[in-house]
């Protein structure tokens, strides 16, 4: 390049230079937007860890894990997470007992038996279940399911984990059925055809060929459902009762981790008090539980995608 040409290039920015600059600027703006998600994660971890560290400076971790009472707002203060864990576990198990069989059978039916028209109509209709606000589900659990259950179980208290768990189960059916169906449909058709060729019926093919072949995708769906059930808040805050209660009986009232955070937030807690820090410690526990499930689910999904 001659000197003359070079000076021309720098004295008057050509259209190309301006265009390159604009391209660069656009890319940087888009990149910054993409970083928002990373920043959100960092902020979540930083805030939960910061407040939890303040909490654990006053309450030993050992006490947090082993104490069987959770009464941070009473005069006789105890900080044992176990009652909240038991409440969360019981509602989750009830929810899974509802969602896993119904969701899996519905998925098998949708993927292997149902005519295309039925599938096209039913799948989106099931997805509507996931779109209903959780506070509405809470209303339904408290004022419809509990009275209904009390017809059969007269001793059932007005607040209980059973109806909350059942409603969470109905709520997460679409997560189980939709993802399981996707996994089953990803099974290549030559496996099915091979099975039919040996004389197997549709049901035998579904249960002994398609189901085992898609097992990692289906378990990923279950794990996602567990994670949803553990993190669900409004249903348990409305229908399960507000007392932390170390029990494994779903017919009793109890409080979950999420419901505790809600109940404390409703009162006006002074910023920086130990009670204020408890919700972050509980939140961190909840995040660690759901995060580990999400990671397991992520790997399972990856595995089933790699096979075919």
């Amino acid at each position: 390049m001659t000197v003359a040409k070079k000076t021309l290039l720098f004295s008057k920015p050509s259209a190309k230079v301006r265009r390159d600059l604009r391209e660069r600027a656009v890319e940087i703006v888009l990149f910054l937007a993409a970083l928002t998600s990373v920043a959100t994660t960092i902020a979540i971890l930083a805030i939960l860890l910061y407040e939890s560290i303040l909490f654990f400076q006053k309450v030993p971790l050992w006490k947090f894990i082993t104490d069987t009472q959770w009464t941070p707002l009473f005069d006789d203060k105890h900080y044992g997470i176990l009652p909240l864990i038991s409440g969360t576990l019981v509602t989750t198990v009830v929810a899974l007992l509802v969602a896993v069989p119904i969701g899996t059978i519905a998925a098998i039916y949708l993927s292997e038996f149902a005519p295309v028209v039925v599938r096209e109509v039913v799948k989106p209709a099931l997805e509507l279940l996931a779109g209903i606000p959780t506070v509405v589900y809470g209303y339904f659990a408290l004022l419809f399911v509990t009275p209904l259950l009390q017809v059969f179980l007269p001793d059932l208290p007005g607040f209980n984990m059973l109806s909350a768990g059942i409603i969470i189960g109905i709520m997460i059916i679409p997560y189980v059925s939709s993802l399981s169906e996707d996994a089953m449909r990803a099974v290549p058709s030559y496996l099915r055809e091979g099975s039919y060729a040996t004389g197997a019926t549709r049901l035998q093919t579904a249960l002994r060929v398609v189901l085992p072949a898609s097992i990692s995708g289906i378990s990923a769906a279950y794990i996602l459902a567990i994670s949803r059930a553990v993190g669900e808040t409004m249903v348990v805050a409305i229908a399960a009762g507000g007392q932390p209660n170390l029990t494994w009986n779903p017919m009793e009232p109890a409080q979950t981790m999420t419901a505790y955070i809600v109940s404390v937030s409703l009162g006006d807690l002074p910023h920086g008090s130990l009670e204020y820090e408890t919700i972050f410690a509980v939140g961190l526990t909840l995040l660690l539980i759901t995060l580990s499930f999400n990671i397991i689910g992520h790997f399972l999904t990856k595995r089933y995608r790699e096979i075919y």
């Binding site: 910061y50 209709a125 509405v136 808040t233 759901t290």
Partner: protein
Amino acid sequence: MTSANIHKIRNIINRNKRAEFIFSIIGLLAMLTGIIALMVLVIDLISDGFPRLDWQFFTSFPSRKPEQAGIFSAWVGSILVMLVTASVAIPVGIASGIYLEEYAKKNWLSDLIEINVTNLAGVPSIIYGLLALGLFVYGLNLGQSILTAGLTLALLVLPVVIVTTREALRAVPGSIREAAYACGASKWQMIWDHVLRYSTGTILTGIIVALARAIGETAPLVTIGALTFIAFLPDPPIQGQFPYISFAWLLAPFTVLPIQMFDWVSRPQEEFQVNAAAAGVVLIALTLVMNAVAIYFRYRLRKNIKW
């Protein structure tokens, strides 16, 4: 083959046919359980709450007397919060979707962002409430305001917008990109003038789903301390005098429909629970209509576009 053998085989075939028939009945029932539950829920809510839905209910503030209480401040609050959520989540979500799909090189940073988006989608919503409490309310001193609520919900639904944007962009075939480049378009011109235009429908579907989720979300707003008893409206955004536009409403305390419903359903009096049902009817109508529109959109788009 002896006739005894044939008989045996026929028996097996009959048994298998019976098993298949029974299973298809069970499958049909399982499939319908969810849909029946949905219908029962909606019918129960409507039968409890519909009589309460009148003009007075929409234009009254909450009150200690259940028959005078209404959802005026709640639906105004919901609209204003959604306004903030949409104006943050839509541009940021689409921009990060475009970056991840069109620009990101395959390296550790883009992997990190990608894993992040997946993980954020699985974080319970109440955790976002804790984030907002620590960051927006006390960290940035935005208070328990409409702005805080809108930002919180925006972060919450961001993964939905990002994921649908990426799927929409991925569906646009490479030939369109190549055609744009061949005409001399730059990368951004190619994306803005061509790829984005073709994917607008799908992105819009994602935005509707995201906003439908945000409008029904309760837990994170309870955590930041949304009030349940608001008997006034925030400053209107458009004013009579100069400078005509006011942003004071952003920092006003607020309530939203789900919070109002939660407050009523938690009260022991039956009259308040009728109000809760009525608010629930409004809420469920909003979210179901939005979701249905999104599903219809998706169906139409899938049918029409053939590359």
